[in-house]
Symmetry: C2
Subunit: 353 residues, 2 copies
């Protein structure tokens, strides 16, 4: 097969981790007789620096034409404590999600046996955790009307959802649950929010179409607790944009392997794969960042975007092997043992595929 | 001194835990020569059952006249999976907060040395944790305009904040930080929300009035992570209503002592003290619920509402003693040792004051 992949490296360590994912993907392609055409494009702070906007039209066109998008990370410290900056890297991210119609963010949290002791949780709490969040990504308070009144003294953000938006996200949730243990948890705040009541009633109405799926409804505050207490009691969770932002990040640290967690954003026009970690500015250019989350995101791309399960498994297997053999960057290296460089980890994976 | 306290026991285990808090408070009053007048009033599902509304006017008047309010818990399973119920216990809670002007919810999270192994976190992660959230409680998306359009197919919730609302909450945060380690963290989502940008710019403008306080600004998703990773890196945190709902609940479980965490809601007209746990319907009437969170809430009331530090300390000391000696309800009893009843714990505390 032949694929055309848009390559959005972004800022900070983005280019370094993307580089390793490209190496590994190319090696896999070679091994399985595929051909990949990579088309690099600008996004984030580097796009602002180059052309004044964080998600240029040219980048959008490249993504629209691609079979999939592989994304690094964006963000730059110069924007961090300046909430008033008019043009910001995050705007590019939001615009990209909206224009590409990436309405479902798929965020798995799972454990690696060899890394389980990195978790802040006790072993018996975290063992066996294997859950997936589906976060709605193009609606809610992120995209509602926002602004100021009263000479700037009053601010507002409107949270809006339509039944159709909830349905298309929930549909993905039910379908995913059917391929897993058939348990679906709808996370909302239906005791307070009207949008949550719309979520709950919409999901309730869909239950009859998936009679095998056991659906539970939990309030977001309760989930924030249970994720820490009994993460392995969850399987597939669906939720709206802002709750998803908070809960998926919370979930990502419980496994102790945040630097390894991949994600996908799927939608109307294409799908995008990215590590969940940020642009880690302090490490930029040092060749120390952990490339595994990006490499595992590429594995998700092979499996979900191209339907190539064996290729995905091959990547996951060699990643597991590197972890078991301690071929890891400094964030995972155990005391006293060698920390490999970003590029060395990539080289090792290619060699051992 | 003489106090007039409104007693809102509420639903589920509310009456049982409130009962023990009254016993202990009365004993403390006697010991320190105070007099307490308790005025019981209805709220929650029991108020709906009795008079059709969850926060009757009569209850409001009793609270307005009181020196403080001691609150149990509200909620009844019959409302849990019926988002369409027109009259709901939670409405009473929200109405009460609004009408009493309880704009600041004070939620400490701390550890008890004897209970540290109950935490889902590893000992080295949780040890030394002692943080306080100030959650804004009468604004934001909880109280903005909400409703439906398009024949019910579109739902919306508006999140609104004024500069004055942020200032009065932040002022409490700065003042609290001054009495502690002078570290204040403002939690927001200023990279996305206009209300968060108002929060951040308002707090930034107040920094000059508290030159000794070191202020940090963190995004809500980052805080959701760091609370699990390094809870002891936080001290005082301020945040808006919905973020506070999620994060304070997340924080409450990390200590492993959720059943012991007290809280206060302070405001314009009076202040209210309540355990953070819910109405625990399954345990209703069984005399097994842990009364310590309510008793520690009474201690907060003595200290903060009445300025009686010695009385508060006396309560905390005897609670610590009960924990050390294993005089605890079944949720805390170690395997093989006796679980005390709710009322037995209260009796023991009174006897050992
Ligand atoms: C950078 C920010 C706008 C973004 C979000 O809130 O969606 C990020 O936190 C994420 O989760 O991808
Ligand atoms: C019951 C509910 C309305 C309430 C809230 O969301 O404020 C509760 O979760 C709380 O934190 O006191």
């Amino acid at each position: 097969m032949k694929f055309n992949i848009a390559l959005l490296a972004g800022d900070g360590i983005g280019p370094e981790v993307i580089n390793e994912a490209v190496k590994v993907s190319d090696a896999i392609a070679k091994k399985f007789n595929h051909e990949i055409d990579w088309t690099p494009a600008l996004t984030g702070a580097c796009a602002i620096a180059a052309v004044g906007v964080p998600y240029p039209d040219e980048t959008h066109e490249i993504c629209m034409k691609a079979d999939a998008v592989l994304f690094g990370a964006i963000g730059h410290p110069k924007y961090d404590n300046d909430p008033s900056a008019k043009v910001r890297p995050e705007q590019g991210l939001l615009l990209m999600r909206k224009k590409l119609g990436l309405f479902a963010n798929v965020r798995p949290t799972f454990t690696f046996p060899s890394l389980i002791d990195n978790s802040p949780l006790k072993r018996e709490r975290i063992e066996g955790t294997d859950l997936v969040f589906l976060r709605e990504l193009t609606g809610g308070i992120y995209f509602g009307e926002k602004g100021r009144k009263d000479n700037g003294d009053t601010a507002f953000d409107n949270c809006v959802y339509t039944r159709a938006e909830v349905q298309r996200l929930a549909k993905k949730g039910f379908e995913l649950a059917m391929t897993r243990s058939k348990k679906l948890c709808c996370v909302d705040k239906a005791n307070v929010l009207e949008t949550s009541r719309l979520w709950r009633e919409t999901v309730q109405a869909m239950e009859k179409d998936y009679p095998e799926v056991e659906v539970s409804y939990e309030f977001v505050d309760a989930v924030a607790m249970r994720l820490v207490q009994w993460p392995n009691s969850y399987d597939v969770l669906i939720t709206e944009n802002l709750f998803g932002d908070i809960l998926t990040d919370e979930a990502s640290v419980i496994s102790g392997s945040m630097g390894l967690m991949p994600s996908a954003s799927v939608g109307e026009h294409t799908s995008l794969y990215e590590p969940i970690h940020g642009s880690y500015p302090q490490a930029t250019g040092l060749n120390i960042a952990n490339p595994l989350a990006t490499i595992l995101s590429a594995a998700m791309m092979f499996e979900d975007a191209f339907g190539l399960k064996a290729e995905a498994e091959a990547i996951r297997n060699v990643v597991n092997k590197s972890l078991e053999q301690g071929v890891v960057t400094e964030d995972l290296a155990s005391k006293g043992s060698k920390a490999y460089k970003t590029s060395e980890v990539g080289d090792w994976l290619v060699l051992n595929l």
